[in-house]
Homo-oligomer: 492 residues x 2
């Protein structure tokens, strides 16, 4: 077990955890958002991030400190916490980003880890190779081999109490991402950033982001804290958490503010297009749209950055509240409607329903059927798997309505789309306490039919009748032929 | 034209309007939320509602003032605005609610209108009969006849500059609601509350609320400001606005706060169940969950009421921003995922797509396909209707992929689910600039097939080919037989 990370609560692939950071003398509750601090361009002071926004940790780039004579000397003399004036945990990056952007950097993994330790970083990072998406397998493999050497090197360096990250690369080759994650998990490094997803995020390729995370999670143990490196837009936090990400970092709050871009959980707006501010945060309630627009450049940038942070931190709290309530996927359902690319992301998440099902609690808050997509949720798949293990009498009438019309059936079981059939005794157990719409849909009915098929196929000796409320022909046609079905909505 | 109401912007059935209230010497921008003030139980002062929350109007009950000797004398002597200390517009109810609750009240329409005028109400209300849902047609008709007499009486009374409301009743009989609305619209009264929907809201019968509003809107002119009377939960504001409601009133903010209930746009939570506050409002950012819980009773109630108002007003602003951006239905898509009953409400709204289409602008922001439900949106239906009017050459290849494989076709048109076919020249016109998911769904494909059918059936002389990307058999089977279809995803 990784001692630094403890899980407190789980929902789908999402979890509330506690990441102990010994050198900071504190732990950080996850999911956590780490504001990115650029020492050259302070938008909101680290002290204010801590006191006003409750940031428990921030992230900055050790390579910037290393490369600036002034900052280097100050950091070595005073320590990073004093230079930045931040009392929480400080995570540092190593210059890998600059490597990816500019092709080379002038430090090695040993040097930058030693430097991070010297300046007092709480979580340091080796120099990995951030392989972009869509590159050839050869390139991805060869760069991954280098990244893995660096991780092994990092393992061998004495980093004292400082935690060290083990970035996971592999481009958009899922098996490489999984292998990279398994390798990283096998080191004694502590935190697992999934690297080089920024190009995917910039192009709204949320489906690919989900596949990258799913692959990495398959290679990692449940005790591995996962950082989706470079992800800072609150629109996609819930989706990423549901896949199993624990840490995010936001430079967006500040960078967007510089261009008058206003973050919301539904996407980004430009301030000049807003006559009404769709947010109750202190900045928006104090200024209003016209007031915010009329601020001078500097105060407007600071105010927008504060708004961007308020909505981002509120979304993190909303996600935690959803995990506690057991309705994280309901929140993902909502966020999936913000952009068609987010819908692609959610549909792709549901491709991994069996993977999510393995960590999902057996019982939680009421299941809400919220869309056609809900029919593919892990809880539905689990019920279908469970149907094959239930004891069944010789003849059962499965019904959406009243009991069996004749006494040829020993029992009547209820049928509720999307779950399908279950014995009445299970009606009050999770997830069969589900709230479903009165107006059902074909996806839900087809899922219920899959449940009927699972039960019937597992019990070749038993007889089955089905009383349904106007199921469409394709759903009925998919049932085993020996199911006698009756449409309860037709007369007579 | 009703001179008191001016439309500024429209999206689906929703609109931003300006309601002029002569007696208040001001106008109110709609959609507007009117906090309910109970003079006996002040939770947040009217002055604070105005200054801190930006409330342009509030609503209180003239019957309470009338029935309390103390309040009556003060209101007659000082006027309602001074007694309540509110500088915006004050709307008053008449005691109809008490009539519905207790079976009788001791004022007539003439008396209460005269009283409302005397105490300085800006918008007064006659004594209508709030007929509950699900009553017999006889009872609904007979009570509606009484309500209509009262409206005619109200019309005949001299109310000076005070605007007067014309409540619309009719229970859950849609034709009665429509007739009641047409009758009310024919009076010279000013504001149109849709009455007696609270029992539907309390039971989460959002589908019925949508049908009630749709029926009332069919009877009203576009210039009629509509008040969804008693609706105060922010979860359903977007749905109601999209159906054409302009005014809401919230007693919920205060009543819920008394029971430690915490409003969100996703539903209601109990404060004691929240370890994390899913909101960036000033109350939540200042106190945090533990801090809010540990406040003494009085301050906690006030703080919760303030939070409840912050999220409610922010949702109203979010709705206005969505109308301006032309993406109100995208917001409704999200809210529809908050509860299965909200999904029923949205599915029912889409039953009225043709009614909404009549007010929907021909061009607005980018259409986002956000769910199977999106395939039934008014914009899709409008495109299908338009297809029948397009000029078509003798032979057209309709294609999701490359141009026609042979030269037997004079033109190739694009096919994009859910819209279906269109000439390439229209590619950059609304709504065909739509963003759609890469992973399409059957509802979208079936809608595209309906588009193909509409085009083919309108052009019996032309030949049509269809190049599709793996459409399911049921979608293809629904096409006219003379369409030659080619699956572009199969080899050869």
């Amino acid at each position: 077990m990784r001692e630094c990370f403890e899980l407190r609560d789980v929902d789908a692939g999402g979890r509330i955890g506690s990441l102990s950071i010994p050198r900071a003398g504190r732990s950080v509750e996850t999911p956590a958002l780490l504001p990115v601090i650029n020492p050259h361009l302070e938008t909101i002071s680290p002290r204010r991030l801590h006191e006003e926004f409750g940031a428990e940790a921030i992230i900055t780039n050790a390579y910037i400190f290393h490369g600036s004579e002034d900052f280097r000397e100050r950091a070595l003399a005073e320590g990073l916490h004093d230079v930045l004036d931040f009392p929480g945990a400080i995570v540092t990056d190593s210059g890998s980003f600059q490597l990816a952007e500019y092709g080379e950097i002038d430090v090695t993994t040993e040097e930058i880890l030693a430097f991070q330790r010297e300046i007092g970083s709480d979580v340091g990072t080796p120099v990995d190779i951030p392989t972009p998406p869509d590159v050839s397998r050869e390139r991805a493999e060869s760069e991954l081999a280098t990244t893995q050497e660096r991780l092994e090197l990092a393992e061998s360096v004495d980093t004292g109490e400082m935690l060290v990250t083990a970035p996971i690369q592999g481009s958009t080759h899922w098996d490489l991402r999984e292998a990279a994650a398994a390798h990283a998990d096998g080191t004694d490094l502590d935190v697992f950033p999934i690297g080089a997803v920024v190009p995917l995020l910039n192009e709204y390729r949320y489906a690919d982001v989900v596949d990258v995370v799913a692959a990495a999670k398959r290679g990692l143990g449940a005790d591995a804290p996962v950082h989706l490196f470079g992800a800072g837009h609150p629109m996609m936090f819930a989706l990423a958490v549901a896949m199993g990400c624990d840490l995010f970092d936001s430079a967006a709050y500040a960078i967007y503010a510089r261009d008058d871009r206003y973050l919301t959980v539904r996407g980004t707006r430009h301030l000049e297009d807003l006559d009404h501010l769709p947010c109750p945060c202190p900045v928006c309630t104090e200024h209003g749209a016209a007031g915010l627009r009329s601020l001078p450049d500097g105060p407007r940038e600071t105010a927008l950055a504060a708004h961007n942070l308020h909505v981002s931190f509120a979304e993190i709290r909303r996600i935690k509240a959803a995990i506690r309530a057991g309705n994280l996927l309901e929140l993902v359902e909502e966020r999936a409607r913000c952009h068609p690319a987010m819908l692609d992301g959610y549909r792709t998440l549901l491709d991994h329903a069996d993977q999510l099902e393995r960590t999902d609690p057996a019982s939680k808050g009421t299941f809400f059927y919220a869309s056609h997509e809900s029919a593919r949720r892990p809880e539905v798949r689990r019920h279908h798997a469970r149907l094959a293990r239930l004891d069944v009498p010789d003849a059962v009438f499965l019904t959406e309505g009243p009991d069996a019309p004749t006494d040829e059936y020993a029992e009547s079981w209820r049928v509720v789309p999307p779950f399908g059939p279950f014995p009445r005794a299970l009606s009050k157990t999770y997830p069969l306490t589900a709230e479903v719409p009165e107006r059902t849909d074909r996806a839900s009915i087809r899922a219920a039919a899959r449940g009927v098929s699972a039960l019937v196929e597992a019990n070749p000796e038993a007889d089955f009748g089905l009383g349904h409320r106007g199921w469409p022909p394709d759903a009925l046609a998919a049932l085993p032929a020996r199911v006698e079905s009756v449409d309860l909505t037709t007369d007579g």
